[in-house]
């Protein structure tokens, strides 16, 4: 029995705006559009801006505190005089990270998202118009620290880098498959702390990463000691060299 109107069958009709609608009078309209169509369109628009300006755009994602800002500071210092870097910083509150980036010598724009748990393409679009893109070689987008939501929103980036610090568990790829599947590069960070932490095994992290059928490279880096920085800078240079392949996004149907 229908709970709302008490008629004998609960199927074949629905209640909308106080009326009983019998579904045999309805019509089904096929849509077949991406759930986040508006965001995807905005992301494609952003990507066109980036391509026109010849900028490689790298989206950094990780848990809070995995060392995104520290890696960027070290990267900016290492590339000073060679490549021009800019950073879009996403955080719930404060412009602390943007000040750190400027202190390291790069342009930075802070997006404070309030309570929003991820950046979306419209936020990035608003930020990119405050940057002198023509004067930039690599633009980093430091996403909100979160291993869930940012994975679902295309920003117009060319590459996703996911950071996993050794102070987290090496099973993070197993726990957050959507995020780690999106990674074009897995960066194991804070490797100078590996001995102090004790139970983080890089090969186990790599195995969990491969179990997501992700063929992307993994590298180990310590922004503090500089170990592994050469490989990271080499990857960036190679991606820049490889050009800016269109739509890095796998999902668009």
């Amino acid at each position: 029995m229908c709970d709302v109107c008490g008629c004998a069958t609960a199927t074949g009709h629905v209640h909308v705006a106080g009326a009983i609608l019998h579904t045999e009078h309805g019509r089904n309209v096929e849509v077949m559009q991406a759930l986040l169509r508006g965001n995807d369109q905005q992301a494609a628009h952003n990507r066109a801006h980036f391509n026109a300006a010849g900028v490689l755009v790298v989206n950094l994602m990780s848990s809070p505190g995995a060392g995104k800002t520290s890696l960027l500071e070290a990267t900016i210092r290492a590339l000073r005089g060679r490549l021009k870097i800019a950073v879009i910083e996403g955080d719930l509150e404060t412009d602390n990270d943007a000040r750190r980036i400027r202190g390291a010598g790069a342009q930075a724009v802070q997006i404070t998202t309030g309570s929003a748990c991820h950046l979306d393409a419209a936020m990035v679009h608003a930020a990119l118009h405050t940057l002198a893109l023509r004067d930039v070689d690599i633009l980093f987008i430091e996403n909100v620290g979160n291993l869930v939501c940012p994975a679902s929103f295309d920003l117009g980036q060319h590459r996703n880098v996911v950071l996993l610090s050794v102070t987290e568990g090496d099973d993070k790829p197993q726990k957050y498959p959507v995020m780690f599947r999106a990674a074009d590069l897995l960066a194991i960070t804070k490797t100078d702390l590996t001995a102090a932490v004790g139970d983080f095994q890089v090969l186990r992290a790599l195995r969990h990463f491969r179990h997501l059928a992700n063929p992307g490279p993994m590298l180990e880096v310590s922004a503090r000691t500089g170990a592994g920085m050469a490989a990271w800078l080499g990857w960036l240079a190679a991606e820049r060299e490889a050009g800016r392949p269109a739509a890095a996004r796998r999902q668009v149907d």
């Binding site: 629905v14 705006a17 169509r37 959507v178 179990h211």
Partner: protein, 120 residues
């Protein structure tokens, strides 16, 4: 947390469909969301009626189809149905597989109701 943003995107697209068919109300929106989409169907179901209140989708049903995760082995060609965090070939064990389905995140259809008939 991002389910509300997704609901708003669904509502915008459903409103576009409804606008193209005057004198209609939306009675059902059908989605296809794979386990690897990063969207939780039960959170979406909870958020949808709240987001839909006062829109053309108020009272509409949200139907969510969930496909399995299936991969095709790039080495031996076997198709396996797998868990979202273990995309391995059942036959040979390799991770060199291609995803066949399981990361879908789309609106499949919108059911509309002609208002004249509704008022009969």
């Amino acid at each position: 947390m991002h389910e509300l943003a997704i609901c708003q995107s669904i509502l915008r697209q459903a409103a576009d469909v409804a606008a193209a068919h005057p004198a209609s109300v939306v009675t059902r929106v059908t989605l296809r969301i794979g386990p690897l989409a990063g969207v939780e169907p039960h959170l979406l179901r909870a958020a949808f009626p709240l987001a839909a209140a006062g829109t053309c989708c108020a009272g509409a049903l949200l139907a969510i189809k969930t496909p399995p995760v299936r991969v095709e082995c790039q080495l031996c060609g076997t198709v396996s149905r797998v868990r979202p965090n273990r995309l391995l070939c059942f036959a040979c064990g390799t991770w060199r597989v291609a995803l066949l389905e399981g990361d879908e995140m789309r609106i499949e259809s919108v059911d509309l109701f002609e208002r004249e008939i509704a008022n009969v």
